[in-house]
């Protein structure tokens, strides 16, 4: 779900960089308001590497296998560090694996990072009910994971279909956006389920990893 170089018009790339700049600015401001902002850097950096590596884990989805995006889980565990973490992860993807691209880095970071922040807010809502309750943790973990991927997929489809084939008619565009987004529903369920299982694991093994924010 990374949009490569050369596809989007320059104006869309520039708009992507503008929203990424704004989201990074907000995140860094929130991070700097913490008691010791530098103390969180090693933790956020190592988890950035860990998330990058964890996205190589393949989950069997017959007839093939899918890798997970994990942006919802990233939001739930890293809080405001999630956006910089995603930006850095995508930068590595672009320069090391040619997955995504430099001109589309802003667009891709917005596409994955803004839903991650959304997932962070969703997951934080479990504080309103009962933070220690495993059922609520699983429910909010599931919603955070599913929404994280779902919103990212929706943004990607709208961008790709409205910008690439300049000669498609409006009806066909709308139909293909609906079709492609519907195709992502099973992936959203898997992503949500996986996120719920990981947050339950973390709550049992290392609860302080979920205490961000």
């Amino acid at each position: 779900m990374h949009i490569p170089d050369g596809i989007l018009p320059a104006a869309v790339c520039a708009a992507g960089y503008a929203t990424t700049g704004a989201a990074t600015w907000v995140s860094l401001r929130k991070i700097n308001q913490q008691a010791d902002p530098r103390a969180g850097i090693p933790k956020a950096s190592l988890l950035t590497s860990a998330f990058f590596v964890a996205s190589w884990i393949h989950v069997p989805v017959p007839p093939t296998s899918a890798h997970l995006v994990l942006n919802g889980l990233l939001g739930a565990t890293l809080g405001y560090y999630a956006f910089p973490a995603i930006l850095i992860g995508l930068f590595f993807q672009a320069v090391m694996f040619q997955h995504g691209g430099l001109t589309t880095l802003g667009v891709n970071a917005t596409m994955m990072g803004v839903p991650a922040l959304l997932s962070y807010y969703i997951f934080r809502l479990r504080g309103l009910v009962d933070q220690e309750n495993r059922v609520w943790t699983a429910v909010f973990g599931f919603v955070a994971g599913a929404v994280g991927l779902g919103v990212a997929a929706l943004i990607a489809m709208v961008l790709l279909i409205t910008t690439i084939p300049a000669h498609l008619d409006v009806e066909a565009e709308r139909a293909s956006i609906y079709a492609l987004t519907t195709a992502h529903v099973p992936l959203m369920l898997i992503e949500g389920l996986f996120t719920a299982l990981v947050v339950l694991f973390l709550q049992r093994v290392k609860p302080e990893l979920l205490e961000q924010g």
Binding site: L46, V61, F194, V198
Partner: protein
């Protein structure tokens, strides 16, 4: 696991000698100028500039080809769809399929821009150690939190990757095979991802203590590396001027044509 981006960072070419900060600005502006192009007449010039720059950088061709392989799948998917779906002017009919002119031209534009931008970004990041490139970004205003996070995650990417590899091997040896998406498979894979996060988290606590012992957070910047050049030379500015001139040429041509 070898990510290999820095494999040819120590060659000797005009690009390797170009001051990282100037190179970053020059090539980034050129990359964005390329992404601005929509006129098909500019594509041969774009390919020519890309080819010349890659040849001057003395990076081996295999380095480029190996990195084109993965995104090639995406291009292949586009190549199978776009010419048949986009546009009205049919140039060839193959049974129920109609090859359309607009789709073919769209595809040509996307492929040429994609290959050119990818090649230039390889020249940019392949012709200097990653550390110097990030330092150059910091010199150009990248916030220090982002720069520190980038360098630390880059440093530990290899080790976390090895962790995953070891855990997967251990799981395989104990008979785990991820075949069907059952509740159990998903649970085991979630525990694998969770363990990866917990291990990295614990490692980060040790690293943070070690960094504090060495003065991290005390506001002291380490002394610049002795081999690093602090001063930019005339040729750095000349090369930057050249890159900006070519980029301006593409922008002007796109606007005027």
């Amino acid at each position: 696991m070898n990510l290999g981006l820095e494999a040819f960072a120590h060659l000797d070419s005009p690009f390797h000698r170009w001051a990282p900060k100037h190179k970053l600005v020059g090539l980034t502006v050129l990359i964005f100028a390329f992404s601005f192009v929509r006129d098909l007449h500019l594509l041969p010039a774009m390919l020519a500039v890309t080819f010349i720059l890659y040849a001057v950088s003395r990076l081996p061709l295999s380095f480029l080809l190996a990195r084109l392989r993965y995104p090639g799948f995406f291009l292949l998917a586009l190549a199978l769809l776009l010419p048949f779906l986009s546009g009205q002017t049919v140039i060839l009919r193959l049974g129920p399929l109609a090859l359309r002119q607009e789709g073919c031209l769209d595809l040509l534009l996307i492929v040429v821009k994609f290959v050119s931008i990818l090649t230039l970004s390889l020249v940019l990041f392949g012709s200097a150690p990653f550390l110097s490139t990030i330092k150059a970004m910091q010199g150009l205003g990248l916030p220090s939190i982002l720069a520190d996070m980038t360098l630390l995650s880059y440093r530990y990417l290899y080790e976390v990757g090895d962790d995953l590899h070891k855990m997967e091997t251990a799981m395989g040896l104990r008979g785990f095979r991820a075949r069907r998406p059952s509740r159990r498979t998903l649970g085991v894979l979630a525990a694998l991802a969770g363990s990866l996060l917990v291990r990295s988290y614990e490692r980060s606590e040790r690293i943070y203590k070690a960094m504090v012992l060495r003065g991290f957070g005390a506001g002291v910047r380490p002394a610049p590396h002795s081999r690093e050049r602090s001063q930019a030379h005339v040729h750095d500015y000349l090369a930057l001027g050249g890159a900006l001139f070519v980029a301006a040429g593409f922008l002007a041509a796109q606007i005027l044509l």
